[in-house]
């Protein structure tokens, strides 16, 4: 009994000491009280130096909190109990959040730097007139492949993936819309198709791809592809640029049938307490020099036209990651199809996954 009590007392004392350390650290960093701004973003999705710069310029202390999926983030904002001043959801989420009344309209007069954003990325279907959101980064969905491992074979279209030579060589991203979308695109249908027959057709076509599929994975796809675990992968362009900077043998292609165009966007959720500071932050991030520095750190494509001239030429001119307007014309942005259709996509995706067993 004595030993137990002593042990527990020891733990209690250590905890008390640590609690004291945390609170003094927090106050020395200026996190407690005063003028703060809470940013809710994907992990490591901003250059930390820029946060420091913003803090220095404005005197506002930034608290950086992270999430790992759009839906989990939405649940947190929906339930409240904590105040996020800025969030960075993907485009299909904006429509959903707007419908559920989770967003605060932006005051464009406080965002003079908005003029730097490329016009073709403004006023899109998911948020007309950019009433609630400002694009942060954008990209495409495509195929990363290793020409060396494929003995010089080139991949240009979705249908190339059905080549029997690619047996057990393909990694897919674990997303219903990406994978079913690939099936739809390969058949010439729209990514936002809700016609059940088309969807079933797409799923059946995907079933015939099973021998070629090595695995359906999440974020670890980057590590697997760069490490040549497989020679072909269905990925987002942001991941692709990261993979290719690790392993130079690899190439990225947006299939000619068309594909998805995605955006991550800054919004002010209804949980915001410091709306003034939130506008300041968005405007700060839209500054061309800041955007260029952030793009250099994150490695995704920036929608900030003004930033392009501060960036290295070979990056800006890389058509794979900054495709021409003609190509982006052909790409589709995901529409919010409504819960019911989305559930159907997931149902089919689940059946497809189970089919592989």
């Amino acid at each position: 009994m004595n030993k137990l009590v002593r042990f527990f007392l020891f733990i209690a004392v250590v905890s008390a000491v640590l609690l004291y350390a945390i609170s003094s650290l927090n106050s020395s960093q200026g996190y407690s009280g005063g003028n703060t701004l809470t940013v809710f973003n994907w992990g490591d999705y901003i250059d930390p130096d820029l946060i420091k710069k913003f803090e220095k310029e404005t005197g506002i202390k930034v608290i950086y909190e992270t999430f790992d999926s759009n839906e989990a983030m939405m649940t947190k904002i929906e339930q409240g109990g904590t105040n996020y001043d800025i969030a960075v959801p993907s485009e299909y989420m904006i429509d959903k959040m707007r419908q559920e009344d989770l967003l605060i309209p932006l005051d464009h007069s406080k965002l003079p730097n908005l003029k730097h954003i490329d016009k073709r990325f403004m006023d899109l279907q998911f948020d007309p007139e950019n009433k609630y959101s400002i694009p942060y980064f954008w990209g495409t969905v495509g195929i990363v492949y290793n020409p060396k491992m494929l003995h010089g074979k080139e991949i240009t279209s979705w249908n190339d993936l059905w080549d029997p030579d690619l047996k057990n060589e393909i990694l897919l991203t674990d997303g219903a819309r990406e994978v079913i979308g690939m099936g739809l695109n390969s058949l010439g249908y729209s990514l936002n198709d809700t016609n059940k027959q088309h969807l079933v057709e797409a799923k059946e076509k995907l079933d015939t791809l099973t021998p070629n599929i090595k695995a359906i994975v999440g974020d670890e796809i980057k590590m697997l592809l760069a490490n040549q675990e497989a020679s072909v992968g269905l990925v987002w362009s942001g991941d692709a640029s990261e993979i290719m900077s690790e392993n130079e043998d690899l190439d990225y292609v947006v299939p000619k049938e068309g594909s998805n165009l995605w955006f991550d966007n800054m919004v002010i959720p209804k949980t915001a307490k410091n709306i003034e500071a939130a506008h300041k932050f968005i405007n700060f991030m839209l500054d061309p020099k800041v955007a260029a520095k952030n793009t250099d750190y994150v490695g995704y494509s920036t929608p900030n036209k003004g930033a392009l001239k501060y960036m290295p030429k070979e990056v800006v001119e890389d058509e794979r990651f900054y495709p021409s307007p003609e190509l982006t014309e052909k790409l589709e942005v995901y529409e919010n199809l409504g819960k019911k259709n989305l559930a159907y996509y997931n149902e089919l995706f689940l059946q497809f996954k189970m089919h592989r067993k």
Binding site: S69, M74, A215, V217, E220, E229
Partner: protein
């Protein structure tokens, strides 16, 4: 001395916990399970559970949980037994637990590296002349990593049971001329059955709802009820269906508890 009422006071924190953190969430889950994806009251989720897709998933969850538990037990029992024979046994026991304090995602990434085509495991296979194999994204790697995770949970209760074993029983059995195997089967094992049971429960029950590893290590070749709940909550946002599966998981767990449950001593 104390009357009956004050003697029951010690139960209050635990019962309060059950009420707030078990009963209320169960009610919440039950409540959600009766709503379809558009928020209308219906039994459609329950109908959906009895379609081949979900029944197959239930069976496969069971199969893998069983496999994981059985293999964990086969490895943990001798390990726990041998640990009780070492000199610094408490230290060794702690050292069994320490690896479980490193973040699971990091360990999973490490396993991806080790089991990969160019990883250490394949280099070893090549060295001993078997040649390179696909290890990652197979049933083997999935079960291996799951067992890896659950081993400490299995070893602890078994170790505790073995450690307190009264050596005189074993001496008595030996004196009576029992063989080692008979001693184990008739004396040691029955005396440690409670520890074994506890170890199996803390392995089998969470193994039913494993997720994450099914994607990271098995590349979604294994799909369990846990994976599906995860999907429904975090991707489809169909909390109704997710809750329905959870209801069935709880029912299954209760059935297991009743079947393997507290029979009177002297089994």
């Amino acid at each position: 001395m104390e009357n009956k009422r004050t003697r029951g006071l010690y139960r209050i924190p635990y019962l309060l916990w059950i009420l707030l953190f078990v009963v209320v969430p169960i009610l919440l889950v039950l409540y959600y399970s009766f709503f379809d994806i558009e928020g209308n009251f219906s039994f459609v989720n329950y109908q959906k559970f009895f379609t081949p897709v979900y029944l197959k998933m239930t069976l496969s969850s069971f199969w893998y949980a069983f496999l994981i538990t059985a293999i964990s037990l086969l490895i943990s029992y001798p390990t726990a037994y041998l640990l009780t024979k070492t000199r610094h046994k408490q230290l060794w026991l702690l050292l069994i637990i320490v690896p479980s304090w490193i973040n699971l995602l990091l360990k999973a990434y490490a396993f991806i590296g080790i089991f990969g085509t160019y990883g250490a495991a394949n280099s070893f296979l090549k060295m001993i002349g078997i040649g390179s194999r696909q290890i990652l994204f197979t049933d083997f790697s999935f079960v291996f990593v799951s067992v890896y995770i659950f081993i400490p949970f299995m070893i602890l209760p078994i170790f505790n049971a073995l450690n307190e074993l009264n050596p005189t029983f074993i001496d008595a059995a030996n004196d009576l001329g029992a063989s080692k195997w008979t001693t184990f089967r008739r004396v040691i094992f029955p005396l440690t059955i409670d520890g074994v049971k506890s170890g199996c429960q803390v392995t089998f029950i969470p193994a039913l709802s494993l997720f994450m590893l099914t994607r990271l290590i098995a590349g979604n070749r294994v799909i369990t009820l846990g994976t599906s709940i995860e999907q429904h909550f975090l991707v489809t946002q169909d909390w109704g269906m997710g809750s329905t599966i959870a209801v069935f998981l709880i029912i299954i767990m209760v059935l297991i508890m009743v079947v393997t449950g507290t029979r009177k001593r002297g089994v």
